[in-house]
Symmetry: C2
Subunit: 434 residues, 2 copies
């Protein structure tokens, strides 16, 4: 077996066997297959695809390139959620404590934000002292103590993914369903889960702009989860506008805390409850997703979810005093409102541009080495279909970078389209796949 | 402009502009685009192809990565021939002196053999003293003096091709029509030619096994030659069996000398005269290919072609005494005959295996660093359609490596299929394209 022959096989639309895929991933991870061969393979996979079996074999080879966590010593079901990423998507912060409060363990390993989408780790680290770099012993202990952990990836988890992602990023081979599937699923399977709820975003702020593509990715992820005997539900949700109103790391913590305390943020909580309901159902604590949703709502109402959140934050060394007194947190140096100049119905949001605007204010990073300003971001008020009146505050920008304000104002304004006629609100939950 | 965006463009089946292709080739040649990005691009080109315009732009960018020879100071037309390579293909050695004797300059830069096919340089260097490493001044002087030069590629000619070929070789991106076209045509255009005759081989001993693929390659080469305002003729010829009888470097020199001295080797001379006829026609010394063929035959008959060959060899420091007295040349340590064990019509030759058998005896190289034994090779007697009788000598092997003889005997025997019924001889000249 040699790399050239296997590249040729994939190039000729032939299926690679499990052993062949293992050979490629293992030797690439060990540095025995050079980048220039692996990138030719990645492009062949990009253009010729991979079957369900090949994708499962890819995921398995990536998974076993590093540590696979075993949580058998912890009683009860372990269920996680993965989102393909969006603008203002803070559901992880709300649903992890909800689901843990409902008696299902949530061993969650998240990533950082890159480009227009935020990352759960960056949001959590906006809380002073919060540590996401927990080791394996701490990871297990925190779950044992409170039923959830919100951790960052360690170097020992799926090292193949780090190498492969870095190469895909510079060789135009990122947007490939089998490669995305391998990357997501290997990391999720390494967490030690029994079940997984997938939040596949679609719309202008998502990686999968078209519903069709989102469904294809969802099916690939579901098939792969099943190949590993994991319970799985895929929920395709709308990402044509920010989820909730707050975009930016601390701003999203604030909105999460408010939601955990019972504040009604309709779109955010519709999606969150559907996801946490599905997790509670997969964890065996509800007979259906709908019953799971009811339990999820109850966990907010009875205060148990917020208590659980404070408990998780405390166990991960975070300062809970800013969460119980949000106004204690430092303020951005500058803030600026965007005011509606005419009356009309909000028709369209270029949500990618909204995400990039928040990034420009300091909330995100263009490259992995950029630093983030936790206070920076946008509160974006109207939802598609809302009637905006002249003089209404459309959005409020928060930043420490004065020189960015004018260009971001224009950028946000350019991202919006209004209509004089009624506009139908987009459906939040597009479809549920299993 | 950046490499990732351009890889993405080709990945998405979009056309690259001339400037974009120039950017990619220039920066790769300068080492500013790393191998791992260029190999992803090569695979995207392999799978998604290139248009006629893109292929011409690729050829141009490769061509101007190095020295482009100008032969304007030399009077008369300059016409070369390029073959896609085969087993026993020694036409260059015969047609270069024929065409030069007919008054058309032949500035020929050739390559070495790799794998199952031989290389003109290796054959010439079987002549003691023959120098193929001529510099630019010598190159021009030799043409001025005798109307032909048989040279090797210098480092200054198309450096992009050396880099690209080495990368294609290890990334399974060799067999791509636009990449092959760029590689061949950039090198041929760098020679300073006005016209080019292409010998596109098809059959079991050729890179293009199928006539359809040979035609596609021929059209791509012809289109590219035309884009550079060069006169061009493409001749698709049979490579289902060795051309002539001798395979191996010195053995092919012997057969070439005999043919130049008037020996009838029907298949070899049919192809050679067609190619040299086309070259004489493109050089303006005949009104048609057929008339060119007649002139070509005349050059053999009147002895001018052989005299010209001796003149070229002398100018390139070769020892002509072994050519006028072939028996002077040292003999292989071992020779062995393969005898027919039954009577039948030769039906099929796995010509790739015949080429590899000669290589195994010492006539070729598997990697660029292998050394060649000039005396080694095979004299292969029957042609497809011939009736072979029990006891006939099918082939004679020549080698210094005793231990290879038994396995090569079996290899050659396994490469042949016989029939008890009449077999139609394959057509030597499949088609002529312009």
């Amino acid at each position: 077996m040699n790399a050239i022959e296997l590249i040729k096989k994939k190039r000729e639309h032939q299926k690679l066997s499990t052993d062949e895929i293992k050979f490629l991933i293992n030797n690439y991870t060990k540095g025995k297959i050079p980048d220039y061969q692996f990138s030719a393979l990645l492009m062949a996979v990009f253009l010729n695809g991979m079957s369900v079996d090949e994708t499962a074999a890819l995921t398995e080879a990536m998974l076993y390139s590093g540590t696979v966590i075993n949580l058998d010593s912890i009683a009860g079901a372990k269920v996680d959620k993965h989102s393909t990423g969006g603008v203002g998507d803070k559901t992880s912060l709300i649903l992890a404590p909800i689901v843990a409060a409902a008696g299902v363990n949530v061993p969650m390993i998240s990533g950082r934000g890159l480009g227009h989408t935020g990352g759960t780790l960056d949001k959590l680290e906006a809380i002073p002292g919060f540590r996401t770099d927990v080791n394996l012993t701490q990871y297990k202990n925190i779950i044992k103590k409170c039923g959830a952990v919100l951790a960052g990836q360690t170097k020992s988890i799926v090292p193949a993914d780090k190498l492969m992602y870095a190469l895909r990023d510079v060789t135009a081979t990122v947007e490939s369903i089998p490669l995305i599937t391998g990357s997501i699923m290997s990391k999720k399977l390494a967490e030690g889960i029994d079940g997984l709820v997938l939040d596949i975003k679609t719309g202008s702020g998502a990686f999968m702009k078209e519903l069709k593509d989102a469904k294809t990715l969802a099916k690939s992820l579901i098939n792969t989860a099943k190949a590993f005997d994991k319970k799985v539900i895929g929920i395709i949700t709308d990402m044509n506008q920010p989820l909730g109103n707050n975009i930016g790391n601390w701003l999203e913590v604030v909105e999460s805390v408010e939601a955990l305390q019972g504040k009604e943020v309709p779109d955010l909580m519709t999606v969150t409850h559907k996801l946490s309901g599905a997790m509670i159902y997969l964890g065996g604590k509800a007979a259906s997703i709908d019953e799971g949703v009811e339990i999820s709502k109850e966990m907010i109402k009875n205060g148990k979810a917020f208590d659980k959140f404070l408990q998780i934050v405390k166990l991960q060394k975070g300062d809970t005093s800013v969460l119980t007194n949000l106004s204690k947190y430092p303020k951005s140096k500058y803030s600026e409102e965007i005011i509606a100049t005419r009356t009309g119905y909000l028709k369209e949001v270029d949500n990618y541009e909204i995400g990039m605007s928040a990034l420009q204010l300091g909330a995100g990073r263009l490259t992995k080495d950029d630093t983030i300003e936790p206070k920076a971001g946008i509160i974006f008020n109207p939802k598609i279909g809302d009637r905006v009146r002249k003089g209404d505050v459309i959005a409020k920008l928060f930043t420490d970078k004065k020189k960015e304000i004018d260009s971001v104002k224009m950028r946000v304004e350019n991202a919006l389209k209004f209509s004089s006629k009624n506009v139908v609100k987009p459906k939040l939950i597009k479809t549920i796949l299993r």
